[in-house]
Chain length 731, copies 2
């Protein structure tokens, strides 16, 4: 808009005026972030307490501070952050405010905020509006505690379940991830409007680029990927984050990309991100990663060379390091040329602060905090999201939902049971149902860094069997605990795994419980894809809940007792074995179709799969025109009827396959989805537009091309089930 | 040489003259190979018998025929092939002879030839001279049965043990593979001189390029690899095959390379192979792969488009397909331009035939055949190679070698036992040792295409235990049979695997046998890397024999009874789990050093590792100059002393690590090795030249660069043990 352009010019003028007055040390301070743990606290009265080290730093101003007030209540954090901001403004020559920075995997990563399900969980909802509203709450709750930027969401494509961080992103598919990430960013930024209005915070899409492709699923590992796959499958969520969602920030990726350290890669961070996509925002390093170009990545000969490499690549803000951009003032003395690059970076940081309105309105209105954080509507949203994200993988003989009116004794068993599970189930089930609960055994000890698998406990299972014997039906909570899949920092903090079998005695447990002859419902709680062959064989029903909100137990009980029909679908392929990877559904067919000796072919559960308490019939696939041209689009529609007896939602999925193309074609690719609600007997028609843009790919000459030929379109309930038709693209 | 150049010009003149007379149909016939199974046989008197289909084809001449006489004796094959060649020459207008084509994984792939160990086995010898002599025998034996070309050796880098063909290549390391492949080619071609002399055959290095990198280890799969890794790690064996070993032929790779089908990739097959490296030889498709560009790879819109794609990419010869280059004569009518490309391909094929002397001397002297094939020296070489290739992985309490003079009852047990094992052991061990033998159970049924794992046989192990109880010591033959690792053609012929655990009851067997308290020596016979965690824990000693020659049992017995000390070293990394892959020793350190939760770090056995019956002490590492310049070289030397009591060979390995470089550096890389023999107490000094060429890599701008800086050099007995020093490269 013209208003927007005016606003932007005004900001640029102010930034330039400010910049012209700043010393080199002040400029560089605007390129650094430190963590609050180095000396930002509140005293017993809740008043600000700064270490001398922090006070010394703040004399020059600062780009930002990570997580001030992380472990105190939202109101206390808001108060602290107001004081901190005032101190910063008062103590640097030009009164420049700081950015307070948080993250969000499942709600603001701080005390007292609404806890939602993890990104991979919400991706299972295939509900973009829902994700948008979740992140709207994240943005509001973060801003209300005095935060301004969120080093989230993850726009990475995660296809390797060995990677401990896979649940922080939105799954294996490029299109699904793009939809989720852009909605998350729009939500957290309040459609960009919320930034200046002071109601929301800036997003930082990460990790650019290829972080999900670390070799062997090992954090910090090298990445090997063809340039074409990088462009066609890894870039799109980032490109959309910039162009469509207007993300304020981007974070670079740990490690290398085809041999070039991402933090020292100007082709990636400047040519692609800024020149091609027009990104002009805040480009921040990952923790210490500019310094690590020297001491870890070994691609720079000295800390100074590392700092120069990061600066020249285009990184504006150095996260944490004390020996990297900190060296720039001295380096300028010897190499005055680089001040231009410094000015450019500082401009972007100051601009970010102006966009967030921090110069005009740096403080939080404390009266609003307690009303705004954990609002009833936010808690309700967390519950709503859970109910849309739970995936029903198996339901033999329609054992689910359970009938609340039928007196039943249920044994709640298993290592993933929480102390609240029984209460939650009781509150949902009502008085006809009685529960017995026993966790039985834990999977890991409680060491935080490198936990151990616990020894097998021979009595635990027999105790659980005794409880199960007294029940009519068993609900088994299996999966992985918080230690078995998490971010692996280094060798003293592991979280990546070489296998994806359920650990400990879980397979034994489900097998022995099933042998009692009672119905077994498995609730699968986990943060990485698991190869649940034994569970899939033994359980009568499986609810895959991944990692739900703080109301997860209650939500699971609601699904089990049929208050809502499950409507989540798998945002990843579930394999039979880690040895099948790489194994995403869209993989080129020449690869996907070749089986292994002694292993059943194909996935255990395919991408996009999920059952319902009702049945849906797809019919009348109709393609508006058998021919598409570069200037036209066609419409593909299908009728879906709820042929069962309960109201339910269905995720209708559109897949397209280029039958023949000059560059070997993917198996098929998700190009659209719609989530619809249907009453019993109701029919709805769902239409998708197929546009030439959807059919573009990076051709032999490494430019985007649109190729004549035949395409197959499938509309259905998963990546392997649906109605198919064909059309032809003529140039 | 000038003679060589003259010869080459003469050939070109002859080729051009011939070409000028040929019809388009005759030309295209020189671009096609068919398999002898379609109609080349001998009758009961050993005389040639051709099907009508073959006779019809041969009227036009033919580029070549695969495997005529494969299943008959060398002499019968020579006779048949002489008759076949005469028929061909007599029945095409210009009397053009044909190429008869074979392969070699472990000696000529035909009846009655010397059977050597597989390439991966011989790679374990780290003895280039030995490999050269093996392939010299292959070349001679093949030529004597009337063959002219060998669609071998494999120059692929094999790093994924899921891949069923891994034992056909020389292992995970680029340098080792390069040494082995060039020596194999020089051997099979008789140092090129043997081609025209009629004593040897032409090599075809395959599969260009990246075939070992198939995703998921699945044959025909897509390949994703960074362009830099492709150049620095995958190309070198091929480049050396062309430039150093002067291979007559190259075969393209199945599948795609970063999205572009290899058989339709002019950058790969023409720009790199011909323009950059100067290859002017016979470029052949893999089986049916030009036609598959259409019906399998789906990158060509029709069979005609596939043929054109292969032709334009630079493939001279179409292996087998009836609907690809066969279409060229008709295509020329519509598109006369392509005749130029056809002429170019035919020229290369005819030139190959001239180089092989086939116009002047197309027949085998039958008198030489039986003297030349399976000569005493060849059989002795097979035995010698075995003894150099067996790897001692574990030898607790120096249980090996066994003493022939000490009366001992030995139980030979396990599914990998052959019917000859007991006899072979008896012949080596002499009269003091008595043997009992029982295979116990098989691993798979004998179906050829998709074999099944056999049901567990509960009595088999107890029977074996009973035999073991009567013994003083157990030798257990474990590993994988011929069905568990092999080329996977399609879904009706599988050979790739998703796990690398030993199949069947093998872990149970070794555990129960060990529980008897008797010494257990495991002989590991297999064609893919296995994660032998249980075996490594239970066995007192492990001899890793991979897949030895026809004398393998005898060779293994000789090592066990100490006739020779083992001297093989691992040409691959042995992992703890398939989940650790990719996992080669030279992998970038940022990747390699990060461990997995719940898994011991690092490999089970590292690349280059292997024990001996003696001990070696490394001392006095000396670097001739602390500084290297682009114009100089330095010498790195080390003293090795045999500090044990038996004569033995040691493989001294040179590794170099670039400490810091602009493109993230490999962990370390093998850059030299020497195999030396030492008497007890003897010391030898081994020197390696370090040249600037060894330090080159593909830099940021995708050209080869040499970077200033510090390098660490290690000389030692494996990739993780040795003496280290440093030097600096100054430009």
């Amino acid at each position: 808009t013209i208003d927007g352009a005016d606003q932007s010019t005004k900001i640029d003028d102010k930034v330039n005026e400010l910049l012209s007055k700043m010393s080199i040390e002040e400029k560089v301070a605007q390129m650094r972030i430190f963590h609050a743990t180095i000396g930002v606290k509140s005293d017993e009265n809740g008043s600000l307490l700064l270490s001398d080290r922090v006070k010394e730093k703040l004399k020059l101003g600062i780009a930002g501070i990570k997580n001030p007030g992380e472990h105190i209540s939202p109101l206390a954090a808001a108060k602290l952050n107001n004081e901190l901001q005032k101190y910063i403004i008062d103590n640097n020559r030009w009164g420049i405010p700081a950015l307070f920075v948080t993250e969000s995997y499942n709600g603001v990563d701080a005390e007292g905020c609404t806890k939602f399900g993890r990104p991979l969980t919400s991706a299972a909802s295939f509900n973009t509006d829902l994700v948008n509203r979740i992140w709207d709450v994240v943005g509001k709750e973060a801003r209300l505690r005095g935060m301004h930027m969120c080093h989230s969401p993850e726009a990475d494509i995660v296809r390797d379940p060995r990677f401990g961080r896979m649940s922080e992103a939105f799954g294996e598919d490029t299109y699904l991830t793009t939809q989720m990430v852009t909605n998350a960013i729009k939500g957290v930024q309040g459609d960009y409007e919320g930034l200046g209005a002071g109601t929301h915070i800036g997003a930082v899409a990460k990790h650019f680029a290829g972080y999900g492709q670390v070799l062997g699923g090992r954090n910090f590992a090298a990445v090997e990927i063809s340039p074409r796959t990088l462009i066609d499958e890894i870039y799109p969520p980032f490109e959309a984050a910039v162009k469509d969602a207007r993300t304020l920030g981007i974070m670079a990726s740990h490690g290398d990309l085809n041999g070039i350290a991402s933090h020292g890669n100007p082709d990636l961070l400047t040519s692609v991100l800024r020149d091609e996509w027009g990104f002009d925002g805040y480009l921040v390093s990952d923790s210490n990663d500019i310094a690590r170009l020297f001491y870890f990545m070994k691609v720079a000969e000295s800390p100074e060379a590392a700092a120069l490499m990061g600066l020249e690549a285009g990184i504006d803000v150095d996260l944490y390091a004390e020996d990297s951009y900190a060296l720039l003032p001295k380096m300028v003395e010897e190499n005055p040329e680089i001040e231009k690059l410094i000015d450019q970076a500082v401009r972007r940081v100051l601009r970010t602060k102006y966009i967030l309105g921090l110069f005009d309105n740096p403080y939080i209105d404390l009266d609003k905090v307690n009303k705004g954080v954990r609002a009833e509507s936010s808690l309700a949203l967390a519950k709503e999201a859970d109910l849309e994200s739970i995936i029903l993988l198996k339901n033999d003989n329609q054992i689910l939902p359970l009938n609340k009116n039928k007196p039943t004794k249920i044994a709640l068993l298993g290592p993933l049971l929480s102390e609240h599970t029984k209460t939650a189930f009781e509150s949902v089930a009502g008085s006809n149902i009685t529960f017995m609960a026993a966790k039985g055994f834990s999977l890991t000890d409680e060491k935080k860094g490198v936990p151990s698998l616990l020894e097998k406990n021979p009595t635990a299972i027999s105790k659980m069997i005794n409880i199960a014997r007294q029940s009519d039906l068993v609900v088994l909570y299996l999966g992985g605990d918080e230690h078995t899949a998490k971010e692996a920092y280094f060798n003293n903090a592991l979280g990546d795994r070489a296998t994806i079998e359920p650990v400990g005695q879980q397979n034994e447990l489900v097998t022995k419980i099933k042998a009692l002859g009672k119905p077994v419902i498995v609730v699968l709680k986990h943060r990485r894809t698991l190869s649940i062959n034994t569970i899939a064989q033994q359980a009568d029903a499986i609810l895959d809940i991944w990692d739900l909100s703080e109301f997860g137990d209650e939500s699971t009980a609601k699904i089990i007792f049929g208050e809502v029909s499950p409507s989540g679908k798998l945002p990843v392929t579930v394999p039979r074995s880690i040895g099948q990877f790489p194994f995403h559904y869209s993989q080129k067919e020449i690869n996907y179709k070749k089986g292994y000796l002694f292993l059943e072919e194909g996935p255990l559960y395919p991408f996009g799969f999920g059952l319902s308490y009702t049945t849906f019939e797809y019919s009348d696939l109709s393609i508006s025109n058998a021919e598409l041209t570069p200037e036209t689009e066609i419409s593909v529609s299908v009728s879906i009827t709820n042929t069962g007896s309960v109201k339910a939602k269905e995720i209708v999925q559109l897949y397209i396959k280029d039958e023949i193309r000059s560059v070997s074609p993917p198996n098929k690719e998700l190009k659209g989805f719609k989530k619809i609600a249907l009453d019993p007997g109701e029919t709805k028609t769902v239409s998708f537009s197929v546009t030439p843009k959807m059919l573009e790919f990076t051709g032999k000459e490494m430019t985007k091309v649109l190729e004549e030929g035949d395409y197959t379109v499938m509309v259905g309930s998963s990546s392997i089930q649906g109605l198919s038709g064909t059309f032809r693209l003529n140039n």
